[in-house]
Every structure is written in C-alpha cells, then in structure tokens.
Symmetry: C2
Subunit: 200 residues, 2 copies
C-alpha cells in the first residue's frame, strides 16, 4: 500500500492512479510557460485587437482571451497538486471541466470578437459565460466539500491553487455578471421608454 501510494505526489495518499506517468517538467517550468503564454496573449489582445476600444473593453477582451485559452488548453497534472480529483478523473470534475473546455472556452473567444466588433449579443454572451463559470465553481467546491475537502498535496497547494487560482474565477465572473446584468436591464428600460413614447 505504502509503496503504491508513493508512486504519485497527490493526496489522498491511497488514491489509485493506474497508468500514472510522473510530470516531466518542474512546477516552475510549467508555471513559467503558462504565465508567459498568458502574458503574450494579453499583450497581443491589448495592443492589437483592442487598440480602438475603451480601456474597460480592452481589459475585458484580455480577460476573455486569457480565460478562454486557459479553459481549452490547461493541463491538469500540475494543478492536481491542489486537487487530486483531476488526476483521479473524478466524474463531477470531468463533467465541469468538459463543459468548460468544450462550450465555455470557444464562447470566451467569441466574446473577444463580440466586444471588438460591438455586437448586440456582447453583454448577454459575457453574462452567460460568467454564470457558467460561477455554476462550475459552485459544483466544484460543493462536491469537494461533501467528499471531505482533502485533495491537496499540502496547504501551500491548497491555498495557492485550489483557493487562490479558483478565487479569480469566482471574483471576476461575479463582477462581469453584475455589470452585464445592469447593462441588459438598462437596454430593456431604454426600449420600453421608447415604446411608451411611440404609443403616446
């Protein structure tokens, strides 16, 4: 038991990972590649795609490009130190990650385009994706809690990956949802006022 447990770095130690192959890159390499690639994408979006837009729209375009690519390409092995359910192929985590990668990822890139082109579906699309991200986080945290909340290799990974990294995907979608909700209500109010004026 102890021998088998020592074969991978994840917690709980008795988690069985048949066919486990250790990560060939170090933590710092993986994080450097991830942060470097993200910085490149954000710079590209800020200075090229968003060059004619207001600052808030540019910032939002950077967020959507960054989160979209993260959803679609992020590899779970390093992150599993914060939550071994990724390496263990937990069905709730796979379901949420699948929805996020297949539906929300491409939708995030569509949001970059929608903001750039000032499309009429821009706010409602951003709201829909943000609510999806929030729903995913809720399922993710609730299932972890119900199953004992003991999936992090140690408290450093628990707070930096599981709490810290995910915290951004709670905070930013909440802010975006709030803004888009208000924008949509303002539009609805505007059209209503217009229609009332017509009737008079």
């Amino acid at each position: 038991m102890e021998e088998a447990a020592a074969a991978h770095p994840y917690v709980p130690r008795d988690l069985k990972l048949p066919g486990y192959v250790p990560i060939s890159m170090s933590m710092s390499t993986i994080l450097a590649v991830y942060l470097g690639a993200s910085l490149f994408v954000v710079t590209f979006v800020w200075f090229l795609l968003g060059r004619k837009k207001a600052h808030l729209d540019r910032l939002l375009m950077c967020w959507w490009a960054f989160t979209g690519l993260t959803h679609m390409v992020l590899e779970g092995k390093e992150y599993s130190k914060g939550d071994s359910r990724y390496a263990g192929r937990d069905s709730a985590v796979i379901a949420v990650e699948g929805i996020t990668a297949v539906i929300e990822g491409p939708a995030c890139l569509l949001a970059v385009y929608a903001i750039a082109k000032g499309k009429s579906y821009s706010y409602v699309l951003q709201l829909a994706i943000s609510l999806g991200q929030l729903y995913g986080c809720l399922v993710y945290f609730i299932t972890a809690f119900l199953e004992g909340d003991n999936f992090a290799t140690n408290s450093f990974y628990y707070y930096s990956y599981y709490v810290g990294a995910n915290g951004w995907w709670v905070l930013i979608p909440l802010l975006i949802s709030y803004r888009c909700w208000n924008k949509i209500c303002e539009s609805a109010n505007g059209v209503e006022t217009k229609m009332k004026k017509k009737i008079r």
Copy 2:
C-alpha cells in the same frame, strides 16, 4: 450481501443506504399528489396572477411557478427509482440539486413576479435560470454516463423518470433561452440605433 441488497428497491443492487426507511406512500399516490399540486399551482397562476397578460407570458408564468416549486419541494425517494444517486447522496447530484433548490427555485418564483409586473430584468432573469437548469442537466447526465449509467431500478423508470422527466428540463429551458437571448439582443440593437440617431 443479497439480504442487505433486498432492503431497498434501487439499482445498483449492492448500493449501501445506511438508515434507509422505505417510502410509506405508493408510487401512484406520490405522483397523484405531485401532479395535483402542480395542476393547482398552474391553474392559480393562469387565472389569477396572469389574467391581464398575453397567452405566452401566462404560459411562461405557469412554467416558472411549476418548475420553481418542483425545485424547492420535490422529494427524491420516489425519483431515486429512476436514479439511485439521489438516495445514495452522490456528491455531484447533491451539488446540482442544492444549487437548483436554493438559488434557482426562489429565482423561478421571482421570474413569475417579474413577468407579471413587466420588470426590465424579466428576460435576463429567465435566461440566467434556464442556462442554470441546462448546466445542471449537463453535469447530471455527464456524471451518470461517466459512472456507467446504471442507476435506474428498471428500464421503465429509466425512460419515464431519468430520460422522460428530465427531457422537459432540457427542452423548455432551451426554448426559453433562445427566446430571451433574442429579446435581449433586440433591445440592445434598439438602444444602439437610438444612440446613433442622437449622435446624428
């Protein structure tokens, strides 16, 4: 093993349900109470709350009242014949049901009010709840599939409860999402046109 398995009617037969108490009502009684109560709510909403509204709005108010109360009060024991993960307290199912009961249930009742009063947040609220219902169904079906899709007592319950009942919560939210999305885009377009006219 066989003795323990015979104590509850759910599948897989070796599912352990410590503290299981059999349902005291028959299937027909439970369904009659559920359908009777639903019919009462729908009639009440149709003839009283919705009496001054257009037919589609009345229908939507009935749907939101029905689905909201279903989310908040439905008891899982009879439904577990279609999916034993309810009785077995599977964490993904509990997470989705928790979000649905605590957040979406009350939001559905707010949607009845919003349609009745013609609030500006009516469409965006209906869209948000419908997307939540669709996300929940996705997590629900994907996790069942990943875990072997063997949770129904027999194929009658599989098709009537698991597929049939849930099918409505895929179809109707899809239709409502489509409608609300278009309405929101129309409003956004309307405000944009108005602003362009002002600038000229």
